[in-house]
């Protein structure tokens, strides 16, 4: 098993944990973290898996991941802005439907 593939499996693990966390958590910040984990896992799979298929560095997926990271950061930043604004307005860090009966 090449190291590429190992990291691809690692990516799989990250994805799984990310999905688990994303579903489990209602706190928005944690969801965001889970999303980032998912993203990282995906990137790992993308690069690791395609490189394990060829057995050498493949620049295309790497370039894609670079783009992906930037996009993810942009999304994260945007989400944070929204979350903060939401928290400021409502004093909550969860969405209304997840706040339980109140």
């Amino acid at each position: 098993m090449s190291s590429y593939l190992i990291f691809a499996y690692g990516g799989v693990g990250l994805c799984g944990i990310g999905v688990f966390g994303f579903i489990l958590h209602t706190h928005l910040l944690r969801r965001l973290i889970a999303f980032n984990l998912l993203g990282s896992g995906t990137f790992l799979i993308l690069v690791g898996l395609s490189q394990s298929g060829r057995g050498e560095a493949d620049y295309i997926p790497q370039a894609l991941v670079l783009t992906g990271i930037v996009v993810a950061v942009a999304a994260t930043a945007l989400a944070l802005v929204l979350i903060r604004r939401w928290a400021a307005l409502t004093q909550h860090a969860t969405l209304p439907e997840d706040q339980g009966p109140s």
Binding site: V19, F22, I23, T26, E97, D98
Partner: protein, 566 residues
């Protein structure tokens, strides 16, 4: 278009044209006179030669025309209408609602004249309906309770009759494979119909309502007493004959032999002739007595028609006889009705004249005077056939007993109920009445020359036989008592029928679940159903909360369905 054809067209249209007079006050004042003149063209027409006109645009293609039968009917109808109108001129002088009476009068007249010249189903039916429904207005002219009741019965029965007629016409048309609507052609096709009895029954019963067949006769004794006297006269004299006319026009008499049906008709006719006499004797109103008399007389004609069904060959002889009989009865009955309107007005000598005058149609009806003799003799002569049941002729002879009883009852009622304070009578009423009495006295041989009837005097040898039965009856009455102890209300079986209907209605009402009648819809606003909304929102919220979970689960499901289940 020849002149005659134009005249033909003009005859039924004239009363309608006269209706225009209502538009102007001056014209409105003229209306009674105009009404009197309206049937004149018909009278003239009846003396013109037979002719016909085809009106292809009218209805489903109409044929109007006259032949001997039409002419006879037209003649007595026109005479009756003329003199009745003349009578009415005075009768309604002080009536506030005279205008609407004359309006309906003219419409009824249109119907009556029109149907007498129609030679096809649709125009006949149209005029018949026009006559029927307009006459309703005449019946309830006084708007009193008894008039309204009689009117309702009349209307119900008329509508039932119309419907039976319609059914019969449908079936008749079917027999000709819907190829024609002309009576003359239909008549020839009708015998080929599969179930001949069905159309025949429908038509017999349908027109029987008008003609006062027993069990369909109830409207007659109810309507005649309540209607204004001139209206009663035409109702009983002319309009009843419309039923007869329809039978003659449509039913294939002389073309087919239907012994059973003929026998039934004879029975029914005799039933009418006798029982109506009995019931009529028990009436208290002179007009009701006359109405029953009409039923009884029509029963005789029904008998004759039944005989024609048994023995088609005799139709040639029977038809003129029937025409004479119809003529005689119409005029006599008209005169009698008008005389009811006179009785209150005279005293002394003039009263005596009146009584004499009244006796003319009364005796004539019994068959011992004037036109009655000719009619009765002719009928008997025709029915003297071997192949007919042997009891028929004696029965007919015996029926004079019923008539005698009725006339006796009528005259005695007239006598008894005469007003203690008579008033002067307008000339027009006298004229109208006198005219009819005179015509009645003249007899048919004068007025219907085309039938070549033997003159009344030539048959003098038969007179005693005519006198026998009435005479015996009078003697019996003398001994048994002239005044009945009990009465049957006019309309006889209508009362049990009404009772029956009420019972049925109440029973039905009890059976059906009683719904509140006429409940208006409550004012319903389109409103939100809040509980539903809350529940739904809760569900939606739950879905929202598990939004991301659906992502995971559905992904798994989709992958499985993509890969494993393919």
């Amino acid at each position: 278009m020849t002149f005659f054809q134009f005249w033909l067209l003009f005859t039924p249209c004239l009363p309608l044209i006269l209706l225009l007079a209502f538009l102007h006050p001056a014209g409105r004042a003229m209306i009674p006179f105009l009404a009197m003149l309206a049937p004149l063209p018909a009278l003239l027409l009846s003396f013109m030669p037979s002719q016909s006109i085809e009106l292809s645009s009218l209805f489903l293609g109409s044929l109007w025309g006259t032949d001997v039968t039409h002419n006879v009917f037209l003649r007595f109808t026109a005479l009756l209408w003329i003199f009745s109108a003349c009578f009415g001129l005075g009768y309604l002088k002080r009536d506030q609602h005279a205008n609407r009476f004359w309006l309906l009068w003219l419409m009824t007249l249109t119907g009556n004249l029109g149907l007498l010249i129609s030679q096809d189903i649709v125009s006949f039916y149209t005029f018949f309906a026009l006559m029927t429904f307009s006459a309703y207005g005449l019946v309830i002219h006084t708007r009193q309770d008894n008039a309204l009741f009689a009117g309702r019965i009349y209307l119900v029965m008329a509508v039932v009759g119309e419907m039976l007629i319609l059914a019969g016409l449908f079936l008749t048309s079917a027999a000709s494979a819907h190829s024609t609507l002309i009576f003359a052609e239909l008549k020839t096709h009708l015998p080929q119909a599969e179930n001949l009895w069905l159309p025949l029954t429908c038509l017999l019963l349908g027109f029987g309502v008008k003609a006062g067949l027993p069990f369909l006769h109830m409207w007659l004794p109810l309507a005649h007493p309540v209607a204004p006297t001139p209206a009663s006269a035409v109702l009983s004299g002319a309009m009843i004959k419309a039923g007869l006319f329809a039978w003659l026009s449509i039913l294939p008499f002389g073309l087919v032999a239907l012994p059973t049906m003929g026998l039934i008709m004879i029975f029914v006719g005799l039933l009418a002739a006798f029982v109506a006499g009995g019931i009529g004797f028990l009436q208290t109103l002179p007009k009701a007595v006359l109405a029953y008399s009409s039923i009884s007389q029509m029963g005789l004609m029904t008998c004759a028609l039944g005989a024609a069904l048994i023995l088609p060959e005799m139709w040639h002889f029977l038809l003129p006889t029937l025409l004479v009989f119809a003529f005689h009865h119409a005029i006599a009955k008209g005169a009698l009705f008008l005389s009811v309107g006179l009785k209150d007005h005279y005293r002394g000598v003039s009263f005596f004249i009146i009584v004499l005058g009244v006796l003319v149609p009364a005796l004539s009806l019994i068959g011992v005077f004037g036109s009655g003799i000719q009619a009765k003799l002719a009928l008997k002569g025709v029915l003297e056939q071997d192949s007919l049941p042997s009891w028929l002729l004696p029965s007919i002879t015996l029926s004079a007993m019923a008539t005698t009883l009725l006339m006796f009852r009528f005259l005695s009622l007239m006598w008894k109920n005469k007003s203690p304070t008579p008033s002067a009578l307008p000339l027009s009423m006298n004229l109208g009445w006198a005219g009819l009495v005179i015509i009645c006295g003249l007899g048919p041989s004068v007025l219907i020359p085309e039938l070549d009837l033997p003159s009344g005097l030539s048959q003098w040898s038969a007179y005693p036989s005519l006198l026998l039965v009435p005479g015996l009856t009078l003697i019996a009455v003398y001994f048994l008592g002239a005044y009945p102890r009990f009465q049957i209300p006019a309309g006889d079986i209508i009362y049990p029928l009404i009772k029956l209907k009420e019972v049925c209605t109440t029973q039905l009402d009890r059976l059906t679940p009683h719904k509140a009648v006429g409940v208006e819809e409550q004012a319903t606003k389109p409103s939100f159903s809040l509980p539903t909304l809350i529940t739904l929102n809760q569900a939606e919220k739950t879905i929202q909360s598990y939004l991301s979970a659906f992502f995971g689960l559905l992904t798994l499901v989709l992958i499985v369905s993509l890969y494993a289940l393919r």
